[in-house]
């Protein structure tokens, strides 16, 4: 669950989000939309503790986003960027990167688990042997989603999650997200995703309102 309680976010003297209050319940699929530069990405970043908020409280599963809780909060959150950066040589390296961190050592997924997740997102397991640099934007996005699933993330924050996907893989991603119990807050202008999600939040001139 994500909740904003009278949250104001300002950057470089400009107020991007003013006095916003809303709650997204566990399992809900919510779209955040607004004009370019309206503060959508800033809002997502504030949720993961990437930028400080000026006023109010953001809570994730009841825990306030403050330094004392940030490590625990980040365990539940996944952020899927519009153009995910790949830092390893192969796709397998990028998919399994978090399992080289101390926090996940010894919790590597089995081959069967990996293949099952890739199949749900219409990714051929052979992709794992490919060089990361040669992956298409859509493959990178799905690989990042697969990584979040393997890490057991509960809340997905996504920036234009379907922008780089072809029609077939988009359907696979939609189907996965809608059937899953994950909470999803995604920036999107995709008409189909807007239609199929539970609720739409619009950000305009710093104020946040619920359209549906």
């Amino acid at each position: 669950m994500i909740s904003f309680e009278a949250v104001t976010i300002g950057m470089q003297g400009r107020v991007l989000v003013h006095d916003a209050s809303f709650a997204i319940l566990a399992g809900e699929k919510v779209v955040l939309r607004g004009k370019s530069g309206s503060g959508k990405s800033t809002l997502l970043k504030a949720i993961v503790g990437g930028i400080p908020i000026t006023q109010g409280i953001i809570r994730i599963n009841g825990l306030a986003v403050v330094p004392e809780n940030i490590q625990q909060i980040r365990q539940d959150l996944a952020y899927i960027a519009q153009e995910p950066g790949m830092s390893q040589e192969t796709a397998a390296g990028d998919l399994l990167l978090p399992f080289s961190f101390k926090a996940h050592l010894g919790h590597e997924p089995t081959t069967a688990q990996i293949e099952a997740v890739l199949a749900r997102l219409l990714l051929d397991p052979a992709i794992l042997r490919q060089k990361s640099a040669t992956l298409s934007g859509g493959e990178k996005q799905r690989l990042v989603i697969a990584r979040a699933i393997l890490l057991n993330k509960q809340i997905f924050l996504a920036d234009e999650i379907t922008s780089a996907l072809d029609a077939e893989s988009k359907q696979a991603v939609f189907a996965f997200l809608l059937e899953s119990e994950h909470t999803v807050l995604s920036i999107s202008h995709d008409p189909e995703w807007l239609r199929r999600c539970d609720r739409i939040l619009t950000i305009d001139n710093g104020s946040l309102q619920e359209d549906r």
Partner: protein
């Protein structure tokens, strides 16, 4: 053996060497002439002053004065590092200085206490030029390392954040950026060691040979200084980077904007 002194009149002829390059730069409309002239004048004045100063410092040869000199050049080098790396002096002065001191002083101690063993150990003729050479190289390496590291993090903030969200601790999340910064900064020194002696005779060795040393003695000093430069470079880079971390990240482990200088100077 001593090097031939150059009479002042003939020395002045040297400056005529600049006429052709200045003409060429002007023809190419590079707009560099003013900067070149200022840098030549500064170089000449600074070296003359340091020559006069060193003459006295060598004559006095006091441990306090020598140490004070080293401290002063470390502070100047440190200010230059932060300025050229585009970082805020008031935020990172101490961690960066501590890194520079670790790299320079540790290698200098090995040189003087174990390898050269001059009498007295603080002999200005050895201490000051060796410290200057180490520090000059540390300075250039640290500028590159700090600049690459922090600008890399700033440009790739989302990637860095994604590492934190994948469960990385601060050390794990900065590791790719640190690897890139250190690799880039060490590349010129490694390349120099690969070709030294083949393409060029290094300045220090040439100076010693001109000054009357036997080539084999000069080579020993040159090898010592190359190894010393490499060691001090790695030590100062790594320590400066690690010492700066607690000052550069906030409690949410995000990079603080205020560590960057307001206006980046080249």
């Amino acid at each position: 053996m001593d090097a031939l002194d150059i009479p002042l009149a003939r020395f002045a002829l040297l400056y005529l060497l600049l006429l052709l390059p200045l003409y060429l730069l002007r023809r190419l409309k590079l707009g560099l002439n003013r900067e070149v002239l200022i840098s030549v004048v500064r170089m000449s004045v600074q070296l003359f002053l340091v020559g006069i100063y060193l003459k006295h410092i060598f004559a006095i040869n006091s441990i306090l004065l020598n140490l004070l000199w080293i401290m002063v050049i470390m502070v100047v080098a440190n200010l230059n590092i932060l300025k050229k790396a585009g970082l805020a002096v008031n935020k990172l002065f101490w961690p960066s200085l501590a890194g520079v001191a670790c790299g320079t002083l540790s290698v200098l101690a090995v040189f003087l206490l174990l390898v050269v063993q001059p009498t007295p150990l603080y002999d200005a003729r050895y201490l000051i030029p060796l410290a200057g050479m180490l520090l000059g190289n540390c300075m250039n390496g640290n500028i590159l390392a700090l600049e690459r590291f922090y600008s890399g993090l700033r440009k790739n903030e989302t990637t860095f954040l994604s590492y934190l969200l994948m469960g990385a601790n601060l050390n794990e999340a900065i590791h790719p950026f640190m690897r890139e910064a250190i690799r880039t900064s060490l590349a010129p020194t490694i390349a120099t060691m690969m070709t030294i002696g083949i393409v060029s005779l290094p300045g220090m060795m040439t100076g010693q040979i001109l000054g009357g040393s036997f080539p084999l003695v000069a080579i020993k000093y040159q090898i010592m200084i190359m190894i010393g430069i490499f060691a001090s470079l790695v030590i100062s880079m790594v320590t400066s980077l690690y010492f700066s971390l607690p000052f550069a990240f906030d409690q949410m482990l995000m990079l603080k904007a205020e560590i960057f200088a307001g206006k980046k100077k080249k």
